[in-house]
């Protein structure tokens, strides 16, 4: 699989194509990235982040070369499908070093799961009481219970689901930060 390092200029050109407003362009870039990662994940790829980066690299390269791309998102999806095909044809080529870097050592599994559990408890407590109640209740209810809760809140089932999803997304981010912070503390104390 070919790799092409994304130059700064090409990256800015890509951002500009996503949105002329630099503040919004960054958010659009992140959205595109998360959608492509989701796409590769749904297709069963074990390295969706890497394939997403490869896709974005190639799209940026084409923009940098001055190619006419009327619909950037559709073009990106087309490139992603091509990258996916190339990956399935030869999954091992050029990806072994990254696989080794990404593999979580078995010995750290229990520690990691304990840290995640503790971080999740802590992050749940850091939510507002309203958000926390919603998450806690939502976890314990079945489908009918959720329908009743949505009705009580004056929401459709879809709207309730989206609200819960967004709170859980914040919970996930908090959890990831907490785990990273604990890892840093642990590695510093080992270094000492």
């Amino acid at each position: 699989m070919r790799t092409w390092d994304l130059s700064q200029e090409a990256f800015f050109q890509l951002l500009e194509r996503l949105d002329v407003n630099p503040t919004l362009a960054g958010a659009e870039y992140e959205k595109l990235r998360s959608k492509l990662i989701f796409f590769f994940d749904r297709k069963g790829c074990p390295i969706p982040n890497e394939l997403c980066d490869e896709t974005i690299n190639r799209v940026a390269q084409k923009i940098g070369e001055g190619c006419e791309i009327p619909d950037l998102l559709k073009f990106s999806l087309g490139v992603a499908r091509l990258v996916l095909l190339e990956y399935w044809n030869d999954p091992k080529k050029d990806w072994d070093p990254l696989d080794e870097q990404l593999a979580v050592p078995v010995i750290d599994r229990e520690d990691f799961e304990e840290q995640r559990f503790e971080c999740m408890k802590k992050c749940l407590q850091s939510l507002s009481s309203e958000d926390r109640d919603l998450i806690v209740k939502n976890c314990s209810l079945d489908k009918n219970g959720k329908l009743e809760m949505a009705a009580t809140l004056g929401l459709t089932m879809n709207a309730l689901r989206l609200r819960v999803f967004r709170i859980r997304a914040r919970l996930r981010e908090c959890c990831e930060k907490c785990i990273r912070a604990r890892k840093e503390v642990a590695s510093r104390s080992r270094a000492l």
């Binding site: 998102l73 408890k121 806690v136 314990s140």
Partner: protein
């Protein structure tokens, strides 16, 4: 796009990889350009993960989910995280149901009642306080026991889930190995076939000659459709053939009569008899009765002719002349 964003069943089928390639491509194009649709898909995915962890997915849906979501470490990690969240929420929910033992002097209804009780005679007051403490203690013990049982259940579920994940991983690894082995076998069979084809190409002419030289008897089937002189059955006899079997299919009503036949082969031109056989008995094949007579090829060759006829005679009862059962025309040529 409006239809897709509201069609939760289609999204769930997409997540479980049940859609056709075309339908998948449509959804992917749709969510790439629609942030709210993308959020809806991910929200449904989280609900699916939750349903799986809680054991709320039906047999078929669960199997489809496991096939899709246990295949990658990333997805399995998400399932573990969902399980942790449900466990934490369960503890949180149960903790809220435990009664508050902290009594406050400042105006709580429970505190007022206890002050009232304290005004009663000491023994009664002590007794009632003891009873209350006992009730609270029992309640706490029951609640603790319930929490412990819940924890045990969740731990069991976790163990079951991990076992399922391991089994799915092993199964996947086993199937990959089997697939690779089958591919190797197919490649090996292809190679063998190619070699065999090369060899049989060299052997074929020799094999044919052997068959011809060993085959001393030819067979000509004479059926009803060939009884007309204008459409005789034909056979080309190769060198080395010594006999010609003439096979005649009898009609059922003829076969039902238990009798033997006289078979006479004549030339069509001049009706010269070249071969006769008496006492020919019919045989039963799988589907119909038939008569087979074996005629030496030299009999045909000696005439120098091509057109012949076979007549079957059956002895008639009470009459001098035999019944003519059938006449069949045929041609014999020599290679």
């Amino acid at each position: 796009m409006e239809q897709i964003s509201h069609n939760e069943q289609v999204i769930i089928r997409y997540l479980l990889n049940e859609l056709s390639e075309e339908e998948q491509a449509r959804i992917e194009e749709a969510y790439l350009g629609d942030d709210s649709l993308f959020d809806q898909i991910r929200a449904l995915e989280e609900e699916l993960l939750e349903d799986y962890v809680k054991g709320d997915l039906s047999g078929l849906a669960r199997r489809q989910f496991e096939r899709q979501y246990l295949a990658s470490e990333r997805s399995r990690e998400r399932i573990r995280a969902t399980r942790d969240l449900i466990q934490i929420c369960s503890f949180e929910s149960n903790a809220r149901k435990v009664p508050n033992h902290n009594l406050k002097r400042s105006g709580s209804p429970l505190g007022a009642r206890l002050r009232l009780i304290a005004k009663q005679p000491l023994a009664l007051g002590l007794g009632m306080a003891a009873a209350l403490l006992l009730i609270f203690g029992l309640g706490s013990a029951v609640e603790l026991l319930r929490l412990q049982m819940r924890l045990a259940t969740v731990s069991e579920e976790r163990a079951v889930f991990e076992q399922r994940a391991n089994e799915a991983e092993h199964q996947l690894a086993g199937e990959r190995e089997r697939l690779n082995a089958e591919r190797a076998e197919i490649a090996s069979l292809r190679e063998r076939l190619r070699r065999d084809n090369n060899q049989s190409g060299q052997l074929e002419p020799e094999r044919v000659r052997t068959r011809t030289s060993e085959n001393q008897t030819a067979l000509l089937a004479l059926t009803q459709g060939m009884r007309s002189f204008s459409r005789p059955a034909r056979i080309a006899i190769s060198a080395g053939t010594r006999f010609l079997d003439l096979q005649v299919n009898l009609e059922e009503q003829e076969a039902a009569k238990p009798r033997s036949y006289r078979a006479v082969v004549k030339t069509v031109e001049g009706e010269r008899e070249i071969w006769i056989r008496e006492g020919v008995k019919p045989r039963r094949s799988k589907s119909f009765p038939l008569v087979v007579v074996r005629v030496p090829v030299d009999s045909f060759k000696a005439t120098g002719k091509q057109d012949f006829m076979l007549t079957l005679y059956a002895p008639a009862t009470g009459e001098k002349n035999d019944d003519e059962v059938d006449i069949l025309y045929f041609q014999v040529t020599f290679k």
